[in-house]
């Protein structure tokens, strides 16, 4: 291959016609860069969320009134514990705290720090947290977005919450959660569970919902049925429901971009096809000349195929490489805002590098197949005509 006259001629011609190829590579590069960037961001966020799903409890039990979630009495926990096969029954206390004047909201989550799982997790997040010191007073751990918001609104050391009972509750800002956790903790305020109940105006016998695990997967449907029969106003959510919700969310967003990409690629292919099928004198003369020199139709098609594949590969590597740099090294400025939103607190997340080879090969196929056919079909049409006619 190295000394083959065909490949020598191919590379020579490729570099001689570089100006022509540069334009096609530039347009392809932009299309591939945008598509790859979107798919990289979406697969990275999806990967991180799928990892966190392992930490989610298997079941969540909520109480519904008028279609809205309301507080659950803690006595439900005792009833759940009586069911065989259920373990790790835990109460969750959470809710949004809304700043009406600024139209912004935080997610306040109450955590039982005496629980071993929570205690261990806190150590993983922040080694330097002194739990005794934290539990001494009314303290909170806040996400990056909350910390930034409070500081910019002159609350650098803490915040005074207004409870539904009309009382004020001053809570000291203890520590800021690390930036790496911003994907789920940006707008989060973590407080001891009793403090969260006080801020939301709940009594000690009320919680937001109850979670539990069922270690035997075969028992899930059975347990769900048993619990659903306890009360009429009860709703059971499984981990699978949440998984499906995340998948739908990203399929939807990725799908929109895929449609836009398809429209762009079809336009691009049409332009290419038109360009090659038009009376494109130099191209026609070139093919006619090769045919007159004794090249077979097969040889001409082979030359054009390799030439097009070189354009495709160069554009693909450059486009995907630039997208990787933009997303995983620079953090995808601007484009990530579409995924993270801008209606509440501004979020800046660290995207985990994820290369999904299924996605990469799909991008290549979606791009390469129409491109190659848009070039080869008109070339074949010219190659089958008489060389004299083609050179006219």
């Amino acid at each position: 291959m190295r000394n083959s006259p065909f490949f020598h001629f191919l590379t020579l011609e490729f570099f001689k016609e570089r100006k022509k190829h540069m334009g096609v590579i530039a347009i392809s590069l932009v299309i591939l860069f945008l598509l790859s960037s979107v798919l990289f961001i979406s697969s990275s966020i999806r990967y991180s969320l799928e990892q966190t799903l392992d930490q989610e409890p298997d079941f969540v039990v909520q109480r519904i009134q008028g279609g809205e979630r309301v507080s659950v009495p803690t006595e439900w926990m005792d009833r759940l514990l009586e069911i065989h096969g259920i373990s790790s029954v835990t109460a969750r206390v959470y809710g949004r705290y809304f700043f009406k004047s600024k139209e912004k909201s935080f997610l306040i989550v109450g955590v039982d720090f005496m629980d071993e799982q929570s205690h261990k997790a806190l150590r993983t997040i922040m080694d330097e947290v002194d739990l005794r010191e934290f539990l001494k007073g009314d303290n909170m751990l806040v996400g990056g977005g909350v910390s930034h918001y409070l500081k910019s609104h002159f609350y650098p050391k803490g915040y005074t919450f207004l409870t539904p009972k009309g009382a004020f509750k001053k809570v000291h800002l203890f520590k800021v959660l690390p930036r790496e956790s911003n994907l789920i903790a940006n707008d989060m305020i973590i407080v001891p569970i009793e403090l969260a109940q006080e801020i939301f105006g709940m009594n000690e016998e009320e919680v937001s919902d109850i979670t539990f695990n069922v270690p035997n997967d075969d028992e899930w449907a059975n347990v769900e049925d048993k619990i659903s029969s306890f009360h009429y106003d009860l709703r059971v959510i499984t981990k699978n429901d949440i998984k499906k919700a995340y998948e739908n969310l990203y399929n939807y967003k990725g799908g929109i971009f895929l449609i836009l990409f398809l429209i762009t690629i079809v336009t691009f292919v049409l332009i290419l096809y038109q360009r090659y099928s038009m009376v494109y004198s130099s191209e026609r003369r070139h093919i006619g000349l090769l045919r007159a020199l004794g090249w077979s139709i097969n040889d001409v098609l082979k030359l054009k195929f390799f030439e097009t594949m070189m354009v495709v590969i160069v554009a693909y590597i450059l486009g995907v490489g630039l997208a990787y740099l933009y997303v995983f090294v620079l953090g995808a400025p601007l484009l990530r805002e579409i995924f993270l939103g801008g209606a509440n607190l501004h979020n800046v997340i660290t995207l985990v590098p994820v290369l999904n080879f299924g996605i990469l090969s799909s991008i290549f196929l979606i791009y390469a197949v129409p491109f190659v056919s848009a070039v080869l079909i008109p070339v074949w049409k010219i190659a089958v005509t008489d060389p004299k006619e083609a050179m006219l």
Binding site: Q55, R92, T124, A185, D187, D209, N248, L249, I338
Partner: protein
């Protein structure tokens, strides 16, 4: 094959190699461990998207497909069971 072709080919291979090195040496576990730890502590794994107050935020309570979120600002609007496509900054 001509010399410029080898040069261009080497540059492309260098790009692939750099991506490979960055991908392998990246601190993936450190980031996912911290996110997982927050999820484990709070028992919540919903993404912290910057969405309006009336839109779903907490996974398992209102996120797409599980429950229709009602827009309290515009009750006559169709319920939103998904995040906005393009968010208003």
């Amino acid at each position: 094959m001509i010399k410029p072709f080898y040069v261009a080919g080497s540059l492309l291979l260098l790009i692939i190699f750099s991506i490979g090195v960055h991908y392998i040496s990246g601190d993936r576990m450190g980031i996912t461990d911290r996110v997982n730890a927050v999820a484990s502590m709070t028992r919540m794994s919903s993404p912290s998207f910057s969405v309006a107050y009336y839109e779903p935020r907490v996974g398992g309570t209102k996120i797409g497909g599980v429950e229709k979120a009602v827009n309290i600002a515009y009750p006559e609007m169709m319920p939103l069971d998904r995040m906005d496509f393009v968010y208003e900054k």
